[in-house]
């Protein structure tokens, strides 16, 4: 599967979820060499895909955007949010993006059949960490922006060898 096709599908899925569920407009940004969250507190929400195809989706964003997204999703003032709210909301967001991607992928590239099921989301929070997918030299990634704040979407997807 061509990386560009996967990127297009995941950007479409992310845009839909942000615009419909979080009411934040999303814009694609140019790729950049330097790390996006160098030493800053950031959140990474991940979900695994397992089945005929398997893979991994992650959304990484700064703490400020994570709180903003949570506030909009839960319709709660940012000042009233607790860290646990952010964990849950960001897990839910990556779950929704994964779900939307799964539906579009099945429809467009798997003859309408379910290509994979999704595992449970995991959220990582910290300022100095990196995330790699074992067996993937490079995970296709796309930088997006919502309300002037950049965030990163990574997607790895491979058909399971019979």
């Amino acid at each position: 599967m061509n990386d560009d096709i996967l990127k297009t599908l995941v950007v479409h899925s992310t845009t839909e979820v942000f615009e419909k569920m979080i009411t934040l407009h999303v814009r694609q940004e140019a790729a950049q060499e330097e790390a996006l969250f160098n030493g800053e507190m950031h959140v990474c929400a991940t979900i695994g895909f397992a089945g005929e195809w398997h893979g991994f989706l992650s959304l990484q964003c700064g703490e400020d955007l994570a709180y903003q997204v949570t506030s909009k999703l839960l319709v709660t003032d940012m000042a009233d949010l607790e860290k646990a709210d952010v964990w849950d909301a960001m897990g839910e967001v990556v779950n929704m993006i994964g779900g939307r991607f799964k539906a579009i992928f099945a429809e467009s590239y798997n003859d309408g059949h379910e290509a994979f099921k999704m595992s449970l989301p995991t959220v990582i929070m910290g300022s100095n960490y990196s995330l790699v997918v074992v067996g993937s030299d490079r995970i296709p990634e796309t930088i997006l922006q919502a309300d002037g704040k950049k965030f990163l979407i990574k997607l790895a997807l491979k058909k399971v060898e019979a």
């Binding site: 089945g51 449970l120 990582i124 910290g126 997918v133 074992v134």
Partner: protein, 159 residues
């Protein structure tokens, strides 16, 4: 399935994988506190989905992960690259999930596949925390070895 059986299965699975792949005898105990590992550490996770869904994760210090990688690859641990260490720990997480799958199928008396695994991912850093976002029960086992502690975490629910 009761909690003791699940915890017991996680212990046996981990003991088997460590004995056969890392050539290390390990013994676990149920752990109910928050996992906190000082300094640089790693977490390798494998999600799974199917009739049951969840994830397995191994959390350990970088020193312990190097020890695991060195033993698996028969190399001096100080000669391993970061990538070797991450791949080795990801493979351990993958094998624990795979062995646990077989035990779970036995426990629920089915010959059907109880879940399929996603690709392993590995987090490495100094000050991060992980949180499985789920209403599924979470089980954790602490393993105390001569080379340091490590933790196996399992979140599991019926789909």
């Amino acid at each position: 399935m009761d909690e003791n059986q699940i915890i017991g299965d996680v212990m046996k699975t981990t003991e088997t994988v460590f004995k056969s792949m890392v050539f290390m005898d390990v013994k676990g105990q149920k752990y109910e506190e928050e996992i906190r590992i000082p300094n640089r550490h790693l977490t390798a996770m494998v999600g799974f989905a199917g009739a049951y869904m969840g994830l397995t994760a191994i959390h350990c210090s970088e020193t312990f992960a190097r020890c695991v990688g060195g033993s698996m690859l028969s190399m001096d641990f100080d000669k391993l690259s970061q990538e070797d260490v991450r791949d080795a720990l990801g493979e351990i997480a993958n094998m624990i999930a795979g062995h646990y799958k077989a035990r779970l199928a036995e426990s629920v008396h089915t010959e059907e596949q109880v879940f399929e695994q996603s690709v392993p991912s590995v987090i490495c850093g100094e000050d991060y925390v992980t949180h499985a976002v789920t209403d599924a029960p979470r089980y954790c086992v602490l393993f105390d070895t001569d080379h340091g502690n490590f933790y196996i975490e399992l979140a599991l629910k019926k789909a």
